[in-house]
């Protein structure tokens, strides 16, 4: 008899959650369902219509993050000026109350961006399945949890059944080996991967990140890396849990305690890829060859090193890509062949589920300390949660940012997606630590350049895109 081939981390999490098979699809049990105000109203409306209960309200956690203003949160939802946003937030409040779901409301110190809150509270744990009506749910894969975004119909399905109907994805391993140069971190790794495989390169796969450079990342860095996996088209990103993971989790409010911790730890340690497991695709990047990266266009795959020039449409192979490049150059107000460092910025945004955790703020503050924001720039820092904000204030980071001329705001999705008052005005250019540089993403006709927190901090000081290595 031929021995069974080894399993990947993804295979193991998948196998542990298959309830049954029906019509060739797996019914996958969901351990944690995170919800927010934007992608749930129609799901609850559907439940009401069908008179269906929520199967496991205790495995569901709600936050308000996409629509919330990043000031005056203590005044409560009633004070939110935008009428539609207020209605959506109030609808969530009513739904969580009617169905008995735990909720961290706007203004609660535990509230914040859903993908910051879950890990911070210790809700996100290795070996889990986690879903949320938000594509950046891939973030939670940093803990070795299978985590991905779903649509609203699927949110309703999970609320009603605590399961999701799924077909299995393929296995893709991305190895990042070696030591990065100073000024390069997880955001650059992620952009390098997207640049290498393209925004559809991961379609149909779950990506596991491995290699010495990934192992060396903090949990914050791993979350940044997994967060951007969706921008490579993959369903989810994974990093196998290790001592870094366990140390992060220990003592968090929802992490197991005492004997339960020991039991959980031995369960979690089983979640790693077997040495003889097969991957459908595998690539390896050398961390030392990755420069600080920025995007020039309107897709996250439009990545160049900060020392590079803006590419020309002729550099692309397919007619669609050439047409997209022509359009992107026009939209971004850039000329082919221009050094990207010539791009003057009007706005700097440090925040979002990609880069709003304590380590991101510490790194940016280090660049900013003792310097001043360029007078032509509006610069803002939006911590990912009330707890991140409080910790940063304990460390004095707020004072560093404020002294330099940054705004220090209250938590939320903020300028990442312009569903709240924080927007990039038309025609203005933004150095942003967020995840999408799509047309109109940060505000109608706003121009986004994605980069790391330290690169964004340096751009705020210089007033244009610049190489952070000159600021270290």
């Amino acid at each position: 008899m031929r021995p069974m081939p080894g399993k990947t981390l993804y295979d193991k999490i998948w196998d542990a959650h298959v309830v049954t098979l029906q019509d060739g699809e797996a019914i996958l049990y969901i351990d944690l369902h995170l919800i927010h105000e934007v992608t749930t109203p129609q799901a609850f409306a559907g439940l009401r219509l069908a008179k269906r209960p929520v199967r496991r309200p205790d495995r569901t956690l709600a936050v308000a993050d996409h629509n919330v203003p990043t000031e005056g949160q203590a005044l409560g939802v009633g004070a939110v000026a935008d009428e539609e946003a207020r209605l959506q937030l109030q609808t969530l409040e009513r739904n969580v109350k009617d169905y008995g779901i735990e909720f961290f409301p706007m203004g609660d110190v535990r509230n914040g961006i859903v993908h910051v809150v879950g890990p911070e509270q210790g809700r996100t744990q290795p070996g889990m399945t986690i879903v949320c009506g938000d594509s950046h749910t891939s973030t939670h894969g940093a803990f070795g949890a299978l985590a991905h975004g779903i649509g609203t119909s699927e949110v309703e399905h999970v609320l009603a059944t605590q399961t999701l109907r799924q077909t299995k994805a393929k296995n893709f391993r991305v190895n990042i080996e070696g030591e990065p140069i100073p000024g390069v971190g997880a955001k650059d790794f992620a952009l390098a991967v997207i640049g290498a495989i393209g925004t559809a390169g991961g379609t149909g796969y779950v990506i596991e990140y491995a290699g010495s450079a990934v192992r060396a990342l903090s949990m914050e860095g791993r979350m940044t890396l997994c967060n951007l996996t969706i921008e490579a088209g993959a369903r989810a990103g994974l990093v196998a849990p290790d001592e870094t993971t366990f140390a992060y989790l220990m003592g968090r409010p929802s992490a197991p305690k005492g004997g339960a911790w020991e039991m959980a730890l031995s369960y979690w340690k089983g979640f790693s890829t077997d040495p003889d497991a097969q991957f459908d695709r595998e690539i390896t990047l050398d961390a030392a060859e990755i420069a600080p990266l920025v995007t020039w266009g309107t897709s996250p795959e439009d990545v160049i090193a900060v020392s590079d020039r803006v590419p020309a449409p002729e550099d692309f192979a397919s007619p669609d890509k050439r047409a997209s490049a022509v359009r992107a150059l026009e939209y971004m107000g850039l000329d082919a062949g221009q050094p990207i460092t010539e791009a003057r910025v009007d706005v700097v945004f440090i925040g979002s589920c990609t880069n709003s955790r304590i380590e991101d703020l510490r790194a940016a503050a280090k660049v900013v300390e003792g310097r001043k924001v360029s007078p032509s720039v509006r610069a803002m820092v939006v911590p990912g949660s009330g707890l991140v904000r409080a910790q940063a204030e304990d460390e004095g980071l707020d004072e560093i940012f404020l002294a330099a001329g940054f705004e220090w705001r209250e938590p939320g999705c903020s300028m990442c997606l312009a569903m709240n008052p924080d927007k990039v005005p038309p025609g203005q250019r933004c150095a942003s630590t967020s995840n999408r540089n799509f047309e109109g993403r940060q505000g109608r006709a706003g121009r986004t350049h994605l980069m790391s927190p330290v690169m964004a901090a340096a751009a705020a000081i210089a007033g244009h895109i610049t190489d952070v290595r000159d600021y270290l």
Binding site: V19, D23, T91, S135, S153, G198, W261, Y267
Partner: protein, 203 residues
């Protein structure tokens, strides 16, 4: 969910790669608590200028494409945000089928929850359809049962689709109702899980 069987409709070309869900339905339309009425926001920044006036050159504003039921677009259609408002807006506008070389995963799933048929064809066939869609005759027939697209010039392109998804779309089945038939299996799984991973029960 609406069933999808066969569609005779105009096909409109959108020759761009990576059309993301922010472009399909921008954020200002996501604040609704309803599923209906999203047609007004479909491709908003492509259809309308900064003053809210129609851009006459945009394909869906051109009279010859009025009432189009099929879109043919570049690679990686529907990438980005998970917003199901994207298929809702397309459906509300009257689009029942999108043809591309590839779709982003979440958008692809969302289509099947709503009876919007995503058709994947090889690049040269998508390119051929794109060129024909730009011409004077742009009527196509999409037949899900036969898994074919009949092009304006009369060429038949066969497409692949997961048989389970095909069956559900042909019948317009309700996924939740189906899964709830397996409630006893979910109960059993939960009991086993409570024994194996008790720490998850007292969060």
């Amino acid at each position: 969910m609406d069933a999808f069987t066969r569609l005779d409709a105009k096909i409109a070309p959108l020759p761009l790669a990576n059309i993301d869900t922010d472009q399909i339905i921008p954020k200002q339309f996501l604040k609704t608590v309803e599923r209906e009425g999203l047609a007004k926001g479909l491709f908003y920044d492509l259809r309308f200028d900064g003053e809210g006036k129609e851009r006459p050159g945009f394909v869906l504003n051109r009279p010859e494409y009025k009432g189009a039921g099929v879109l043919v677009a570049g690679d990686n259609f529907g990438c980005g945000s998970s917003r199901e408002h994207a298929p809702w807006a397309l459906m509300d506008f009257g689009i029942r089928c999108v043809v591309s070389t590839s779709f982003a995963d979440i958008f692809y799933n969302n289509c099947f929850q709503n009876g919007l048929l995503p058709v994947v064809l090889p690049a040269e066939q998508v390119q051929a359809l794109m060129e024909e869609a730009k011409g004077g005759n742009h009527l196509v027939t999409v037949d899900l049962e036969a898994q074919t697209v009949l092009s304006p010039a009369g060429e038949t392109f066969h497409f692949e689709i997961d048989p389970v998804r095909k069956e559900k779309m042909l019948k317009g089945l309700d996924a939740i109702g189906e899964t709830l038939q397996m409630a006893a299996d979910i109960d059993t799984y939960e009991m086993r899980r409570a024994l194996d991973r008790p720490w998850l029960e007292d969060a």
